[in-house]
Symmetry: D2
Subunit: 384 residues, 4 copies
């Protein structure tokens, strides 16, 4: 099985780390640290091997991948000498990057944009002789988009897309196009993407699986590992406050209050779901450009124990954003491709392990999500 | 089912909080925060109700329980007005405290000490009309005891106990006596207790269950909630360093290097078991008298992610030692009594959720332990 | 010298702790921990002794001081048995609390409010035979007030106060009244208070000293102790981010974005002043009611060292708000009374040690402020 | 003034960063971040300019400086491209490195070793036409050395050095030789070095200044910035606990309990000196090889405030060891050379700002040390 991995936001930090890292792993230069699908628990799942992956994508700007990789090396995200060692792979992926949509005024109808994306996807699949293409949105997080009645009505949506108005956020145009092109779709970001009733219906109609949303790689990852501890021990969490300091392009986008809101909301859901009740406390996302590709999360939890005694837990997580994200993109590509092969369609709730805000609901506790993921992956068959 | 809870170390902080708290819960003064066995997942297990528990125990000194409870109230461990509200229960338990063993020179043979303990236990069971008595060791942690050949040989052990030498550490004399008196035994501390081949054989021969050892209420609790996160995400932990600051009497005992060693060793096993490999880093236990009944653990973890990038997690846990421990004593008493009723014998590996160093091995990851505990408890039958 | 201490916000947490604590110290029940003016460096300054202080104040509501003190005891802010031991002192102060201004509609002109305050102050001074009365604003922080031309023009201000409009924020009405009554005035909060050109002029004309504003008791205290370290070592701070979690009434007030803004602004000035340049980073103030009288500040600092290497400092400060504030109120009362006696007038810049946003400018580094305070206090003479 | 900087331990991490960094600054490639002597407060002191410094030293092994610099670049201590840019300077310094003493058995008398060191120093000064040479010990920390009567008696010391026994630790042989060669001496490490009465006498007799010991670059730096805050605010520190995690070669040496002890002892003195009383708490130094050139210190402080309320401060310092140390070596070289020129002799107590354990005593509070340093440096004259 040859699998295309189509990255929306193909010249971003995450995408560049994905392409650079996949090349490093393929050549055996580095071990697959951080890749869940390379651990023994997934050995018998029948996943496409790493060297079956072919990369392409959309972006609306950005320097060529070779330059981006060198920038990341200077920032310590990838080893200093790696970009030079995998120039071939970077150049090959760069050649498959097409201009993204939404890059300015005079854009025409969303139908037109969608058709262009469909064309790019189909051409990629055919030219490269791929069995399937998984589309993964790793573009900048969008501001929240107003809810519209067409979002819940496939026929109305089709009509509106012919008109002059923007009926969908860009991430949803990409998702729509992916589904129309027969491609499974993964929302790595908190943007709307495929999470609209009309697109869910479309995915099911086309027999396509999708997954999302918003990869958990920091504060929420730790939160969903720790919160079940309090629940299991009957300790009553009273407040959970958090501050996230982000550098990089992503920090800048999320510092915009509206986009930040959409990220915060997805963070909050997990906690209430695990503890069974809402708790006090706010979550902040600050842009601190000086931190570059690094992020720090500080969380402060107050909880009540036996006889009302108050206690506290704090943690500080200091991570490299793209290094945390990139191996999950590879995991998601492989698992979603395999799910497609197995004939799954609609939301892949078993992939909740990877996301802050799992589509289709399900468990939020990290361990429970992991067990579910493993069981599901090992139980996948092959569609007739 | 009326159940005796016999606390070795009956006037310690943990024991006093247990008796005070059980009275508060029984009277409905406070909700059962921190009691795992009071959560919905254990509703159908058939546990003895909290008001079926009758307290007694051994101690080698200490102020009466009423005074100890008032001390704990001044320290903020139990609510200021609670000791006055439950004086009756405290006085009742105080009346069942007998002089412990090992309190000085001229002690005679260990056989003699064991017989005295057996006598106390049988008398308690009979006078108070109890269906069973669970013995729980919450006494000061002992220094490590030398391994002796008699520990592995029941017959040799019996012979040696008649002699003048100390063949067993005190915790094991209590465990031996408990088993001989027909009582299940729980090691809440890292002391040797029941963990000797000869005592394991004795327990099985008597059809008695036992559990241990060393309740996990702080650093190791958080560690075993967090370490599975790294494993599940294929992140390679490289070092895990920890410092524990303890006030109180327990801190003083553990500050003695030898006793501290025995606690540290039990902390270390869990991590290697979860991650599948040993990691760098040391664990310190410091006695800081100014911290009184409070403890603080700071842990620092370095881990490697995708393409070799180094990242860090730190946490600080600030807890009240006895408030964390006491509800677990109630949980262990009820679950062990129920296991006894169900005819279980030997090590209760399903209780690993509660311990730093679970007897009989099994899972160390907290979530996995919790799921196992629940399944086991809900599957207990009744012995013929 | 008998000195009146007139607390605006007399039934708040800070004020109640002040009155309770002063009584405890006076009776020798507890040592004067936290009182700067009780340290050897101030022994020869000629300060009024603690038992020369007589308390009174304004409040617009609140329970009687005896009840408030018991609430604070339950929260662990004052020792459990202290309120009962100092009931006399609490009752005496309660008898000197007068209804504050601004408590609702139909208030009449600000002139009328000011006259009422003046009357209360003069009556207090005369009835109690006081040499002087220091007015200290420890009321809830106000939202920022619009700048008006009358604020810079004493004559215009006088005229406007006769009119129906609110030309001054309430804190400034109190400050105006204090000065008109011949009382030195201290701004313990970030509210406007005396910090208006017209009031500064009035203070100088009346020969009265004033001080402020916004007592530093947490994040900013630590910040101004640490920032000089970076400056002295030529380490280049690049970002300084902070999150403050506050329970209590104060947290609630500051959580209102407008009031919060005024607090944040005063926090920011200090850092830039010490480092000599602005740095990245935001400061958050969250209201976490569960934290009650406690506050936690977490600060995260990134800095550049030799050859551009990036490093980090974090701190977590966990303090009891009112316990940190109350001794400073006593210090400020005594020092300001002494300055008045010495004939000082206008802003007491030497008191900058106590404030986040020192009136009249001056040093922000904590050590430098301390040295200046000591030198100034020890150099005070007596006015003719 | 041309000044030689003779580094004992010349191929260590600190020494290599010094030589690499000095070259970078000299060429204007990077700004002098971290160099105290390059700040405006020292502009008029008449210090030797950075390009007047000429490097040499002793080492008992190690790779050539060019290789060491490349290692440091890979570890992120110096910028990736810097070693290549300053190869000339590295090669020049490498040519001035001589075999150190103590490198094995059959060493002969300490007299012989001292004479060899003297020869190296004199030759360096003459061949390179230097006005003076400052010897700075940046070699591995030694284990504590037994106190001997000869240490207090110059004549006895001279006699003993002719004998076969080791009367001095190696660091003191270097110090002795430096003084005999007419060179000021700086103890950057906690080793004994010049801190023996007989060597103090020698220094004074030769009219030579010396300084030390043990540069403060981490936990103690922050501690001495923070402790004065508690003192100034009359807050009663009750415990101060610390854990230091060190990678690198230095971590390995200090992990040896004996050497660690000597470092811990110097850490402890500062705190008691500032607070005026001893406090509870221990300091740990752990070797965590995975941390490479980085170190982390976590400190936990409990303190008592008004009316006995307990509060806490924690900090985490994450620094690059050699990057913190190297600019101080440059500062010390320049200031000590200038003091020599000015005719100072004996311990330079005004340099206490740089050290954990200042020779000759003096202030420990960081700000007070800084003010003293500045005043002293700006007051230096020129010796006749
Ligand atoms: N790094 C993590 O740990 C993590 C975790 C969860 C989610 N995410 C999300 O992943 C996304 C990518 O993060 P990043 O750090 O790579 O950001 P980035 O800013 O480096 O890259 C985003 C890329 O998207 C491109 N882009 C923007 N609009 C586009 C459009 N309309 N069409 C096509 N491309 C477009 C940009 O030009 C840019 O190259 C963000 O939305 C982030 O929130 C990241
Ligand atoms: N609190 C926790 O979170 C926690 C967690 C795990 C384990 N533990 C263990 O629980 C134990 C009790 O802790 P604590 O805080 O109550 O300590 P504590 O010092 O307050 O109480 C210990 C009691 O044991 C008694 N004792 C000592 N030797 C005895 C003997 N030979 N026979 C009978 N009694 C004896 C002492 O007199 C004392 O009253 C300790 O071993 C501790 O390590 C506590
Ligand atoms: N605690 C600290 O460490 C600290 C530090 C700096 C500043 N402060 C400031 O001190 C003030 C008091 O804090 P607190 O914790 O006591 O708050 P609090 O809410 O407990 O008390 C404030 C009191 O002010 C009274 N009040 C409100 N409006 C008034 C008016 N117009 N006239 C008279 N009284 C009025 C309220 O009724 C209340 O009793 C706050 O402004 C706070 O920001 C506190
Ligand atoms: N880095 C800091 O922040 C800091 C702060 C205070 C003190 N120090 C001290 O500075 C010293 C150097 O630290 P480092 O990180 O460079 O260590 P390092 O291990 O990298 O270097 C030490 C060097 O000393 C050499 N050496 C050992 N014995 C010698 C001898 N007898 N004669 C000559 N050379 C000898 C070694 O071969 C090695 O090259 C250590 O003692 C350390 O404790 C460092
Ligand atoms: Na978990
Ligand atoms: Na300072």
């Amino acid at each position: 099985m040859r699998v295309g991995v189509w990255l929306v936001g193909a010249r971003g930090s995450v995408a560049t780390t994905v392409v650079t890292g996949a090349a490093a792993l393929r050549s055996g230069l580095l071990p697959p640290v951080g890749c869940v699908t390379e651990t023994p628990g997934f050995a018998g799942v029948g996943l496409p091997p790493l060297d079956a992956l072919v990369f392409g994508g959309h972006d609306i700007g950005g320097s060529p991948l070779v330059e981006r990789a060198e920038e990341l090396a200077r920032a310590g995200v990838v080893p200093a000498l790696l970009p030079a060692a995998v120039t071939g792979a970077l150049t090959e992926a760069e050649a498959e990057i097409r201009p993204g949509i939404g890059g300015g005024p005079g854009r025409g109808s969303q139908r037109g944009e969608a058709e262009r994306v469909i064309g790019d996807l189909v051409s990629f699949r055919e030219r490269r002789g791929l069995d399937r293409v998984v589309v993964i949105n790793v573009a900048s997080t969008e501001p929240p988009f107003e809810v519209r009645p067409e979002h819940a009505d496939p026929a109305a949506l089709e009509r509106a897309m012919d008109g002059p108005e923007e009926v969908l956020p860009l991430s949803s145009v990409y998702a729509y196009a992916a589904l129309r092109a027969g491609c499974p779709y993964v929302d790595f970001t908190p943007s709307t993407g495929v999470r609209l009733p009309a697109l869910d219906e479309l995915a099911r109609a086309e027999g396509l699986p999708y997954a999302g949303s918003d990869a958990k790689t920091g504060e929420t990852l730790v939160k969903t590992a720790l919160a079940p501890m309090f629940a299991a021990r009957a300790l009553a969490v009273r407040s959970w406050s958090g501050t996230n300091l982000l550098g990089g392009g992503d920090g800048e986008t999320l510092a915009d209050p509206a986009a930040g809101e959409s990220k915060k909301a997805s963070k909050d859901r997990a906690l209430a779901a695990i503890l069974g009740h809402r708790v006090e406390g706010e979550t902040h996302i600050d842009h601190v450009p000086d931190m570059g590709e690094w992020k720090t999360a500080w969380d402060h939890v107050t909880f009540e124990g036996f006889l009302g005694v108050r206690m506290t837990l704090q943690f500080t997580w200091q991570g490299c954003d793209s290094a945390l994200a990139a191996p999950l993109v590879l995991d998601l590509a492989r698992l979603t491709a395999r799910a497609h092969e197995a004939g799954e369609s609609g939301p892949l709730t078993a992939l909740g392990f990877f996301f802050k805000d799992p589509v289709g609901g399900g468990e939020h506790g990290l361990d429970a999500q992991y067990e579910r993921l493993r069981a599901w992956a090992n139980g996948l068959g092959v569609s007739a």
